[in-house]
Structures are given as C-alpha cells and as structure tokens.
Point group: C3
Chain length 469, copies 3
Amino acid sequence: MKKAKISMFYPEEACHKTAMGLFESASDLPLICPHTHLDPWLFVDGSEAFKDPASLFVTPDHYVLRMLISHGISFTALGHSPLDSDKRKATPQAVWQVFCDHFSLFDGTPTGLWIENALAMVFEIDEKPHAENAQALFSHIQSVIDCADFCPQKLYQAFNIEDLSTTDAALESLDAHRAIRESSWGQPVRPTFRPDQVIDIGHPEWRENIDSLSRVCDLDIGDFCSYIQALEQRRVYFKAMGAVATDLGAEIPFTCCLSDDRVEAIFQRGLVQKLTSADARLFKGHMITEMARMSVEDGLVMQFHVGAFRNHNPTVFRTYGPDLGFDIPVAVEWTHNLKPLLDAFGMDERLRLILFTLDESGYARELAPIAGAYPAVKLGPPWWFHDSPNGMMRYFEAVMETAGIDNTVGFNDDTRAFLSIPTRHDLWRRMSAHWLAKLVHRGQIDIATAHNRMVDLAYGLVKRGYRLV
Amino acid sequence: MKKAKISMFYPEEACHKTAMGLFESASDLPLICPHTHLDPWLFVDGSEAFKDPASLFVTPDHYVLRMLISHGISFTALGHSPLDSDKRKATPQAVWQVFCDHFSLFDGTPTGLWIENALAMVFEIDEKPHAENAQALFSHIQSVIDCADFCPQKLYQAFNIEDLSTTDAALESLDAHRAIRESSWGQPVRPTFRPDQVIDIGHPEWRENIDSLSRVCDLDIGDFCSYIQALEQRRVYFKAMGAVATDLGAEIPFTCCLSDDRVEAIFQRGLVQKLTSADARLFKGHMITEMARMSVEDGLVMQFHVGAFRNHNPTVFRTYGPDLGFDIPVAVEWTHNLKPLLDAFGMDERLRLILFTLDESGYARELAPIAGAYPAVKLGPPWWFHDSPNGMMRYFEAVMETAGIDNTVGFNDDTRAFLSIPTRHDLWRRMSAHWLAKLVHRGQIDIATAHNRMVDLAYGLVKRGYRLV
Amino acid sequence: MKKAKISMFYPEEACHKTAMGLFESASDLPLICPHTHLDPWLFVDGSEAFKDPASLFVTPDHYVLRMLISHGISFTALGHSPLDSDKRKATPQAVWQVFCDHFSLFDGTPTGLWIENALAMVFEIDEKPHAENAQALFSHIQSVIDCADFCPQKLYQAFNIEDLSTTDAALESLDAHRAIRESSWGQPVRPTFRPDQVIDIGHPEWRENIDSLSRVCDLDIGDFCSYIQALEQRRVYFKAMGAVATDLGAEIPFTCCLSDDRVEAIFQRGLVQKLTSADARLFKGHMITEMARMSVEDGLVMQFHVGAFRNHNPTVFRTYGPDLGFDIPVAVEWTHNLKPLLDAFGMDERLRLILFTLDESGYARELAPIAGAYPAVKLGPPWWFHDSPNGMMRYFEAVMETAGIDNTVGFNDDTRAFLSIPTRHDLWRRMSAHWLAKLVHRGQIDIATAHNRMVDLAYGLVKRGYRLV
C-alpha cells in the first residue's frame, strides 16, 4: 500500500509565510457588511456620533464602556447621564482623557486591537493612547473629523465597502433609507427587518407596539391572522427598500408549531395583557417558525442570534438604559430547540437560516452538524465576544471540519462603530489566512485551493450567503 | 534552589522533526480495529459495497451524504430511493459524477482527507476528484475493483490488520462469523454484542424483538428474570463466536438501580405495551447498570456511546431510513447520570467500561476526572464528528493531563467504510506524534518515553484496552 | 487608507525566544500564595507531612492517589487504612516503591511535571522515578529531609515566598496562626475564613457545628440574627489574625435574597433538623449573598469555588474519608445563578468577588463577560484539574480577550503539597510568557508592555487582587 498523501506535519516558518501571502492576495477585496448596527442617517446627514473623538470611540461603544465600568469608572465620567436626570455630562475632552488614562485595560483584547488599528488606519496615529498624549490625540483626531472629507459617505468608499445593511425595527418608517435611495449617491445601504418588538409578546411594550403596527400598516389587528398579514406587509415594504434579510434575537432558540386555535388564544390573551410566562415562551417559539415560513415564501435571509441575557443588571438598565455592556451570555441548546422549525422547513433550500451563538460549546457539538446536514441552515461568523483573534481561530477549528466551508457565510462586523469596520474585516482576513495556511502545510488543501478559499472567506461566502448575487 | 527541570519552551521547527520521526517509527505497526460497522459477510463472500466506486465511497457513507444533502443535492441523485418506492436509482456513474462535481465541499474536512488518502493509498490516485476527471477516475477505480486481488480478505492483510470486530445486533445469528471461523482464512473477525434493540423498551419494535429473543434463545420470556437469562445466554454465544466486547448507545448516560419489584412492573407494562416515557427512561437506566453487572461477571468489555439524537429529521427518516447523516449531537451530563452505575461497579476492575461522547465539553470537565479515578473506566478515542485532525488534538490536550495516557484505549476507526481504515489509523498516528513531540520539546517527557508512548497510542493501548492480550 | 498596525502573523522561532526572555525577567519575583491548603502548624513545629518521602509526595496528595487508584492499586498500598480499622498501613518504603513502580502513569500530566520539578528543584534529583531507583531515591530524599535546614520555615524563605494564606474552617481556634504571629519568625502566614461547615445547613453535622459556633462565640444562637452576628464576630477574629480573604465552595453557584421571615423559618427548621432539600438550597443561596454583604462591609476578599461534586464515590468516602481524589466536576451555570448576588452587590467596588470554576466552558461564555462588566468581580486562575500547561493556555486564550488582564488575579497554587509550590508558580510564569510572547509577535502589545504584564501576571495582579498592598 502507498503512503498517505496528506502529511499533517509542517514547519511553522513556512506556514507563516504562506499565511502572509494568502492575506496579501485578498486584502484589497471589497467589504460586504450585511449586518451592522449603524444609524442609516449617517449616510444622509452625518450624525452625532461623528462630532468628536469621545463620541466616535467611547460613549456609544458597549465594549469600551463595560471594560472601563468594570474598573469602577462611572457612566457619567464616560459621557452618559442617568435617563431621568439632566445632570451635566462630562465633556468630550474629559471622557477622552479617562479613556486614554485607562487604555492599558484593553491590552490583549479585540477592542484594543480595533481601536489601535482604527487610529492607525483612519487617523495615521501610531502611538498607543495614554494619559500624557490624550489631549494631543484628541486635537489631532478632532482636526481630521472637522475636514470635509471625513464624512460617512466618503468613508464608505475609502473603506472599500461594496454593500452594507443596517438593522431596523419592524415599525421603522425607513425614511433614512428612502432618502439614501432617492439621493444621487448610489451606494447600497439596505435595511434589515428586525421584528423583535412586535414578536416578544411578553415585553411590557408589546401591546403598544401592536397598536403602532396597526397604524403603520393601516390595518385593524384584532386577531392572529391580521397580525401575520401586517408582518408580511412590513416585510414587503422592507424588501422594496432594499432589504435582503431579517434578524431575530432570543435568549434560547426554542421553536414550536402551535395549532391555529392555540396561537389565537395566546394572541388574544396578549392583546388584553393577561399572559402567562408559558404563553410568552410558546408564542415566541411559534413566531420564530412563522418567520421561517415567511422567509421560505419571500426569500429574505433569516438571521437568528441566540444566547444573550439582555440587561443583566437591573440598576444599570433602569438608570442608563440598554446596550451599555451588561448583556451576559448563557448556554444554548440547539438540537432539541430548533427541531420543530427544522422539521417544518430545514430541508427547504428556499429558507436560508443563518445561526449565531454566544455559546461556543455548541460549535462542534450542535451547530456544525446541523449546518452540515440541513440545506436550509448556514452558520454565521463568530459573534460579539467571539469576534476576536482567538474567537475566530476557535471558530475555524471547531466549525469547519464538520460544517464545511460552504455552509458558513464569511464575516460580518455586527458593529455600531463605523470606524472599526475596516479593522474588523482585516482581522478576519488575517485569521482566515492563518487557518488556510495550516491546511496547506498539513497537506489538506493545495495552494491554489487556498487562494480560492481565501477569496471565499473574505468576499464570496458572504455575498452568496446573503443572496447579494 | 535549582531551576525547574521542565522548560515548557521549544522551537517549533525541532518539534516538527521529532513528530515526523515518532510517526515513522510507528507507521508500520499492525492495526487493531475493535470497533467497526463493517458487514461481516464482506469476509465471507465480498459484498454489494465493493461493486463500483459509488457504492465504495458515496452511497453508504453518511459523512459524504450529509454534506452533499446540505447543499441541496437529492438523496435519489446519490443512489438512494424512497423506502416505499421502486423509483429507479441513479446509476453508479451518475452518482460518482455528482460526488466529483461537488468534491470541493469537503475542503478541510476529515471526509475529504480520508477520501483523498484512500484514493492515493489504495488506488494510487493523486488527483483530487473534480467535474472533469470524474469518469476517468471511475474507470480506473472500477478496473482495480474488478481485479481478483481486490477483495476484503486480501485487503485485510494488505492493510496490515491484526484484529477486527464488527458490531452485531443481539438477535443476530452470527452466521457470517461462524462461516469465517470455519473457513481456512484464519484472521480474527469478531462480533460485538449490541443489545439496544432488546433493551430500548420504548422503541416501537421492542415487543416484537422480545418475541424474537425468545425464539432465538428457545426460552419463554415472561418476566424480567427470564429476560435477563436470555441476554446472558446471548452474551455467552457471542463470546463463543470470538466477541471481546459489547456496545451500547444512549442519547444521555442516565443510569439507575431499580428494585426487583419496580423493574418487573415496568417490564410487564412493556410486554403489554402500556409504557410511560418515565418507565422507558428508568428501564434503560437500569439495564445499562445490568450490562455493567454482566460485564463484571463474563469479562466482556463494555463500550458506551453517548450523545447522538438519532434520526433528527423525521421526513428523511420516514422516506429514506436511518444512518443517512441526520443524527445530531446533544450536550451530555456524566457526573450525576453515571453515578448509580459507578457506585455499584466503578471500583471493580473486572468491569472495563469504555466511554465515548459527542460532547467535547465533557472531556476535561467530567470524563477525564472520572477515568482518572475509577478503576473500571477508560476513555474511548474522539468519536464520529471528532475523529478529525482538530478533534484529535482537542482530545489529547483536554483529556490526557487529567486522565493520563493509560486510562485511554488508543484509537478505533468506528467505520462502515472499509477503505478508510488505513487512513484513519494513519491520521491518529500522525496526530499522536504531533502531541508527543510537543511534550518532548517542552521537556515533559524524554524521547525514549515518547517512542514507547507512540507504540502505546498506535497499538498497545487498544490491544490491552480491549483485553486482546 | 493605511495598512493595519497589528499584523497577527509571526514566525514561531522568534516568539519562542521572546517567551524565554519574558520568563527569565520575572523568574526571580517573590511568590504570593493567597490560597493554599497547607497546615499552619507546619510553620510552628513542622509536621507529619515532612517525615518521609511517602508522606511528602504520595499519601496526602489526592492527585497522586486518584491516578494510582484508577489503575487498581489499593488505598492501603498507598498508606491509607480504612477509617474504622487499625489495619497496619504500608511502610513509607513500600508506598514509595509502589509510587515509583507506576510513575509512568503520570506521563504528560501536571502531577508528573510538579513531582519531577520538585525532585529537581528541591532535592537536586534529575532522574525520573522508576522501579529500580525507588529505594535509592527514598534514601537520598530521606537524608535531605533529616537535615536541620529542611523545615517549612526555612523552605518558605528558600522558595522566595512573600506572603501565604492557609484555609481554615470557621470554627478553628487559629492557635497555630497565633503562635506564628507571636513567634520571632516574622513571615506572614494568614488564615482564610472558610464558613462552609456552618453554612451548609443540609449537612448532617450542621446542627452540631452551630452548637460549636455558639460556644466559640459565647453567644446563644437561637435565631438567624444571632447566627449572622456569630459569623460576623468570627470574621472579625480572622481579620485580627491577619486574614485578607474568605473562601466558599458550592457545587453550583445558586444565589438568592430571601425575606427575613423566610430565612428565619428555614433556619428554625434547620435547628430542629426538619429541613427539606429545597430549604437547604435556598438557605445556601441566601448565605452566599450574605457573605457578599459582609465582604462589602468588612473588606475581606470573597473567594467562591464552584463545580465539584464532592465524594462522588460513597464507598471510598465511607471507608477512607474525603479528599482522596473522588471529587468529580459538573457543568456550571453562572449567568442566572449569580444574578441575585450581582443585582445586590455587583456594582459595588467594596466587594471583591473572585470566581473559580471547574467548568471551562463557562470561561469565554459567562465568566469573562461577567468579570469584564461588574466592578465587584474578578476571575481566579485555572483551578484544580485545569492548573496545568494546557489548562493555563486555554484560560489565557478564552478569558483574557473578554475579561481583560486586569480583571484576573494572577496565580494561586491552591495546594496541600508544600514542595510543589515553586514549580506551580514557575509553570504559571512560563505559560504566561508563552501567551504574552504570542501577543507581542502578533503585534497586539509591544515588548515593554509585555514585560510589565509579565510582572503583573507573576506578582502584581495577585497582590492587588487580594488587597495585599
């Protein structure tokens, strides 16, 4: 018998060179950003977030806030005031100083990496921020911000972005998106349909949101059937405004298919606000399956983000609001929870269900096996806390062997920090190159395949994954 | 005080050379295959599976099927027709063409690695399959298959196999095994006692299987006592036919010890098919402990495979049957679940309980600590989805520090794909060499120890682990 | 746009040299040992444990025992006799021989590494123990032990220890600590307040322990209020004896805040021993929160160790007692369980809550996000089975990106094996250097930062973390 073809052994040195070569070959490909949390008004009239260094890098970034808060810095020192108070916020200069004073907290974190790279890539700053250079950096960044060229539309092109989506609540008018489409600018900025506020029947504001939904759709929502009709109508509108995808979040991915009578009964209890917690759970589970059904019919890609316990600290939430760094992950069970949805639509290729998790223990155990079997399922990139050098390597190593590269959808930056977009994609491409180089030197793929796969990981998978071709 | 003896630092380059040396030194050791899913008739009269390239590599391999299905290829295009239909299957040439068309789906997967290596090692094909070379490869493989030398008995020896076990349902006549034993061939092919069909009391066919068991044992099974007697009788028969081990599967490893009255009551409800789901769970838990008790008494090694939700998609199961790639793993809890069994027999060395899991999060957390304390327990190699380059490295890194090498049992290929046996063992040996070389260069073991451990991992541990010495 | 500043690529060879350099620069820093299980009498009058090689290395070490037991060696052969028997124990020479006979069981384990290093560092023995050299090693070690210089006080200084804490039950008189403080020796040996025995209301001996607590505090404990008063009084006493921390263990980290009436009712049922298991769980959950409240008030650091199913095997426990290697980890959920405590005190910097887990799947999923947000929380080092080369690397890679270095507290050895202290800290420093060197060569931190962080990981973080500055 002949020797094995694939050696699995390799000298690291050569591997390192191959990795650099792969990265270089893909570093100029355009960026596809199918999942961001940018404010679409950025691309109409600029925005608050581009006023000064503190509002660019500190105040709105929950990654930055949480780390500083964890060291006992107050929200007010970081530019947030209590929701019910008109207490004066810290000045941008003061916020920036606190941030630079404590920048070493970010040593070895992806936040530190993104910020250092953004400073270098966008502002040509090669120094690490610290207490002494804080105000000089502030002035330099402010002077760049104040230039006419430093506006989101121009940065979109400077960043080599080809396509970008925002995330928009189901009730949104999408006025900003309409304005962009009607302008002469011509670059794609798409909305994404996020229906959580009208689906989470247990949420205190759900009843009110249904009234708004009624109004927006000009439809009397008195039963489940008209409710579904309203949601479908909204999807049609989002699609007309350029949307290619929906997005849904849940703490756990419980799904189910209720009978018409049962779902109607729960819906009616929801309207009169006499819901049990079991009702709320079942309704959410049923609606996730309904969203899959609608995607089968209208072709919108269905994104499903699972695993965050939102607003974990009630004091922070009550005093300062959501999205300030106090969302904590939980363990996620997929195999049983997702079964009712997969029983109904998992074999149907018209459904494109992209799964995201905060629980990496599910990568190799549940998600890769599911994506590697069901035609409807693909895996999103490492999400949130795992959008990091080690998080990406763990993802490649745990997911790819079982799911296969083609059951993943490349990268998305999932960010509200516009300036971090280039460095986030850049990092993904570098880590992709690392991983592919190892496959080459072990003998698992040849170098030509590696170059093709590099283009896939940087560009092709996300474009095909979100049906942008 | 003197410096530490063990440096933990090493240059990768030297490590890579050591790894290659360790592998070379062990690459000619015979293969021990104590857990396969081969059809024993292969070694009596050849088989269907050896007819053409498609039936060798595609149609029966659930790893291959699932990946192609996940990309929307139909089961019929892959040689499967619906169970209740006589719809004509695709020709072997057509199946092979579809497979080669989509071979890049296997980039970076263990399936891709096994197939490329099997083509190279067995058929001397160094090209990667693709759309254009598909039919040429088909003809070449077919011409080799058609040679008189290409038969399972001769391949057994060409592959350097020393001992091999199949997996056989409790009700099996073992006629194939008897035929092999009575032939002049003389190589060991052992049955393994797999009692799931007569233990899973909740299974729709259990009642019928008990009738068959009655018949096979010529024993009236009217109570739990006669049922146990029948199982023991079957074990005696399997042992007489060469068996050294049993195999049991479960979604979760729940075990218990019921009172005689309680187990009898459940058994009687099972006979009249008036079982609750709690009954079924308790009975399975009790029978796992019973199997351990029988192993204490007759010395058969007890294999226990946990964590697969079988036939996850009901449509695929109903239409095409089991084992087609739609088994999805679940999280597994061992510490509480296995305790009743371990309380009873965990300290008894006469029991050899080998555990397999699909949930890697249990490796370092539960399995290695259990195997590193209880004399009865050893850990099986990385299983199924984890039988892969990264899966093996994760296993070595997570298991060995706490369990110790000697509480593991080397490798087994667990395959129904005969031609993949050499490459699977070869991969295990290469990854073992990687891991040992790192220990050497960190200073944790010396090179002489590494060579001994290399032989252990490739040959000694599995032989001793399955009591083949 | 400019290129990214941080390359993420590096040649391994250079990285290896940087790692060695970082380690060398920190290898002479003093050891801070804020969590040991040493007997404080060691530092007053020496101890039983220092009598001979077997009692130094084998008999009291649960890591060593479990591995030998797992291979069928009996407890009696290892120097343990059944609790209720006066069966003669094996001689130290015989125990040592068995240990050396089977030393290869420890190949690749941290126990093997610690022992080989301790033999080299303390006894200048460079040979690996084996059957033939066993008695010669015994004689050599015995001759060193018998020297006047070989006593715990002198070793404390030879090991370059700067500060050390023991772990002491709430009812302890702390006579040894008083004797040390009153002696002329002058090195810090601090008690740690471990209240489990008076908090675990479900434990068979709890009632009796409350009587002892009454006696020790000279306080009539008839209600929850006086019980709390007694605990606070004990904390004052421990603090006066030098304590800087408390320590609490639990299988799962369930916490809650009960109403005064509810906790009083449970306490009263506890006093008359009419407790339900729900009572016991709630009481423990409430008391964990109470311990946090006390730490807010008295400033003692609160250590919380979670995830061990203690005394998993009832026969071993009944026959030989606790702490013999039969504690098995379980999965741990933090996000929901810890919420009541964090709601109450998580934002309060006066609380310093250090979390330890045996379930690594929580590192990146729950613990790093919690520590990276809540000012009160920091993460302890990899614990118990994970105090190992791979365990440390997994910890660095999974925790640091999200928690940040400054939300961790360096290393602690958590050992009852005094001679293993230098090698344990040495290993942590080597693995820290590895991890930091990778950050340097990827471009994430500069070399000056790496040197500072090396000092932090080896010395600064633990000192600040336990408020020893």
